[in-house]
């Protein structure tokens, strides 16, 4: 059975491009475009990996990550954090909040696919 990836990203075109790339790699894809309600969605679909944008409407990606990590069940769920903010303090904040990997936009397709493979291997 193929591994499942949930992309939480509010930019529809980035979502479409990522969906195409990861489906082609054989992953089962699902997506969510708003911070609000996505914790319930994660609990419902139980993905193997989450690609999480830091800037989301209503609830930030950082907040979602902290909420997730506060639950024992999601301590080891791989979360790949995406952000347009690449300063050291942002990276540090994401690491402190429990991000498995941190990628800054603009990233390359090859790079993100390689990171997804790495986190799911």
């Amino acid at each position: 059975m193929s591994k499942s990836v949930l992309i939480i990203e509010d930019e529809p075109f980035i979502l479409e491009a990522l969906s195409f790339l990861l489906e082609r790699e054989g992953y089962a894809l699902s997506s969510f475009s708003d911070g609000e309600g996505c914790i319930d969605y994660i609990k419902k679909i139980k993905p193997d990996l989450i690609i999480l944008d830091m800037m989301l409407p209503n609830i930030s990606g950082m907040q979602i990550l902290e909420n997730l990590r506060s639950s024992q069940e999601y301590q080891s769920l791989p979360v790949l954090m995406l952000t347009a903010k690449g300063q050291r303090k942002d990276r540090q904040a994401a690491e402190n909040a429990g991000a498995s990997l941190f990628m800054t936009k603009p990233f390359s397709n090859d790079e993100i696919i390689a990171n997804v493979h790495k986190l799911l291997s």
Binding site: E11, F13, I14, E16, A17, L18, F20, L21, G35, M54, M55, P57, N58, I59, S60, G61, M62, Q63, E66, N67, S70, T83, A84, K85, D90, N96, T104, K105, P106, F107, S108, N109
Partner: protein, 431 residues
Amino acid sequence: MSRTLIGTRIRERRRAKKKSQTGLAQEVGISASYLNLIEHNRRGIAGKTLLAIAKSLEINPRDLTEGADQGLIDKVKEAIAKNRHIPSEVDRLEEFIGRFPGFARLIERLFDLQQEQNQNLQALSDKMNSDPFFAEAIHLMLSNITTIRSTADILQKNPLIEEKLHSKFLSNLLKESERLSQTASGILEHFEQTHSQQDKLADQTTLDTFLESNDFHLDILETGAASPEEIIEELAIETEEQKNALVILKGYETMAKALPLQKFLNKAVQLKFAPLELAAYFKTDLRSIFYRLAHLPEQNNLPKWGLLECDGSGAVLYRKQLTTLSLPRFGSACPLWPIYRSFSQPMQPICALLDMPTGERFLTYAVAQFNDLGTIGVPGTLKASMVITQDYDQLIAKTALTSLPQLSVGLQCSVCPKKECTARRATYILG
């Protein structure tokens, strides 16, 4: 003035008057060899000889001895030092200035301009770093670029992609390019507006500049080394600014006496800077604690606090910005900020975590307090204060953070990408 310049000038002037060294020496009654030593800056010259040479060369003695002041020499030396990669004849600097004072002045002017431009660039860079619009625009541009890069890569590497998907990606590419153009135009427009608002920014008072340059911590008032009146005099604050400046500085002085720095710091560290507990311990109001927190010295181990104070109309009365958060000076901030909500529940402290659209998080405490009690039929006026810090992880245990209210807010409507916000009163300029 350096004697070397006088000799060089005498030689230049003599040549201009087409006189021989021997002829001039005879006219002034000195030997040609002595004049030669003077002209080559190996002998000093003053008094009668200088006057005689000046007379013979039909020049005011002052023109031989003045003009190239030490300031000019120092400035050209500084220009040379800052441009070490260009080998310059430093040992002949005075000769150069003496022979070509106009060129020397030109170097001085160009060097001054270069310095000014460097300072302007630094100021612009600082401004851009704390400009919420620019930060938001850059984020948006990076998202635009991510889409374009990723989509173009898919199209290029997948020539056999099904036609419907191919058209969709092409359409995405076009739309995202248009958004990128729109964002770039927005940035240009913003900087044009910024330029036209420079007069407004010039409204920054002398005291604002003084406080900012001291990171809002005034040792001289903390220790009583100077009075507010003496600071106003020292800063030569203009008459129309003096009244407000005095109110602010006297407020600082009162705070420093009521909440002495070291005593406050000791207790604040012990209480993890919790404003309510500090107010209870020092038997004072919350606003005074907020004010004290915002005026602590900048030290690595201390949390950095910003402060915003406004009246019931939302007009900003006082602000201390954080390097990571730009607080409004003229317009209002996001209406969802707790400082505005505090007006609806005077004297009720509010504590909340603010989540910005940029992903940054801040801890805030806000309270609205009465300035006066009012009279029968006339309500008292309120002033709201809010302290804000990004160093919340030093103050509150991670487990306790989740129990705090978390508010998803913006900075100002014009730079806030939050969709469907009921509090929105201005269009998102990058939308």
